[in-house]
Symmetry: C2
Subunit: 349 residues, 2 copies
Amino acid sequence: MAMNLTVAIDGMGGDNAPDMIVAGIDMACQRLDGVDFLLFGDESLISPLLDRFPDAKAHCEIRHTEEAVSSDAKPSVALRSGKNTSMRLAIDSVKSGEAEAIVSAGNTGALMAMATVVLKTLPGIDRPAIAASLPNMKGQTVMLDLGANIDCDAANLVQFAVMGEVFARAELGLAQPSIGLLNVGVEGLKGNEAVKEAAAILQSSSLPIKFYGFVEGDDIGKGTVDVVVTDGFTGNVALKTTEGMVMLVASQLRNALTSSLIAKIGALFAGGALSRFRNKFDPRRYNGAMLVGLNGICVKSHGGTDAFGFAHAVEVAVNLVRRDFNEVIKEDLSRLMENKEPELRSVAN
Amino acid sequence: MAMNLTVAIDGMGGDNAPDMIVAGIDMACQRLDGVDFLLFGDESLISPLLDRFPDAKAHCEIRHTEEAVSSDAKPSVALRSGKNTSMRLAIDSVKSGEAEAIVSAGNTGALMAMATVVLKTLPGIDRPAIAASLPNMKGQTVMLDLGANIDCDAANLVQFAVMGEVFARAELGLAQPSIGLLNVGVEGLKGNEAVKEAAAILQSSSLPIKFYGFVEGDDIGKGTVDVVVTDGFTGNVALKTTEGMVMLVASQLRNALTSSLIAKIGALFAGGALSRFRNKFDPRRYNGAMLVGLNGICVKSHGGTDAFGFAHAVEVAVNLVRRDFNEVIKEDLSRLMENKEPELRSVAN
């Protein structure tokens, strides 16, 4: 008899929590077998919601707490005085082994601070990063950091490259994913000090990493490399700019296809193809980013997503657990670290 | 009798120069009246090209030079030893008054360094920035800096806000454009020191600027504000990421609409609407960014564009000259500077 898998959920994180959370769990339950949930949050709010969502109710155990991390809380404050918040208790349940993964749509900075303190980073990793896949011309691009670390030095970027390489092997199933460093030019003379130094380390290293060199913003969509490495400020702006532009394109396409009778007739015929096209770029289908580099599976959902998007983030966490993702990453990291060059060791420690 | 307007062209800048440049001038000549060109570059390459493009030939005067700034030249080297390059001589012709504007598709760093040294910045401006308009849900967003300044402090960002405000009034014809600072969060607690400090200055200032506060990447496409201010690293990545994603979306749409017979029939009916939709996102139609903050009109074309895109950059320069853009910017800047707060003056000087 297969054991059920348990996912801890921060029931109070996200713009429309807990309603969106419970509806999302319900949707995930309809698509997943053998998954139970520990749902941390205010029972007086969550209980009536579970009555409306029977699939979620059948698989959820409420862990009551009245405290929650607000979206504008400083990470340091959340860390110090947030020990009874839904986010913190959910993370604690992964540490204690009660749950195999935690999913939160709450405050990113607080989630990173708490998860780092409670779960600890993997050997050789200073700070976790947020990684996710985006669509590209050939398939998918893994990108990190998407917002966990605002200021990054060369050592951080090199560690992100190592983690991104492992993530892409596990997540995309590639034998030797290529790695690019995001920059404003490919000539090797442009860019800030951190990216120039990181490139020099990766280029001179004999690590078994396929380092492509610098890439620019348009290489993300082109799929020039499998993994794009950047600091959390730039990565977050690039990700959200993409989201905004895809929304703009979708709305303009809708306008174009309803602009005249003949366009509407065309849209009717092409309806199936157009709906597959729209689905491909639905940001909710890419919701669920992983905090890589931690001793535990921690998935961050977009705070503004809906139930459909949150259900996808839950599925991302379940897939990572089922593929023993963190075991693979730990093995590969230790193998990579054995081979590492003196200059990499000096910056990584 | 109206005087013809003269535009100086860096004939050797860009991936496919001088072929793409001459073809682009030819295309621009077919759409513009009363514009002549000083074309700086290697006569032995340019002369045979002009023979193939009679419209360009009728409006071009070649200024021969064998030197050119390479795309990987360091700005400092180009500045020191590039006095006879096509780029430098074209800029000099604006300084001397022979030409009213200069257009180059060459090395961005070299163009900024040379244009800054030769043309000088406007009073109160430390460094020029690259500004351009992008499509958004409601109309257009002016964004700066798109790549001129890799590392920016709070004072630079405040100056970009002032210039972007004037640019949006002149370019988009808005009475009081709203300004947003690009950040990774809107809560006022996130972000690096430069954006936090710039926001504090703009918020506490009594400058006649409509400062919205922080915006995120998705606000560019949404059109939340009229002007988005950021450093050149982030701005360049955001711009190029958008370009790559729009290319991806266009290619997926093409695939979808040729995926089946019924989709092809639909595409045939909706053809006109779809082609207007594609045109709206053609990056060549947005080619031509301005180096704002200089005593002279200096337009940067994308290095990898084609003749159609380069022609658009030429038209941008001609429009800016015809609208007395720099006079408007100078007047508005001096009016803004008169009102400026002590804290703004201290950082701006």
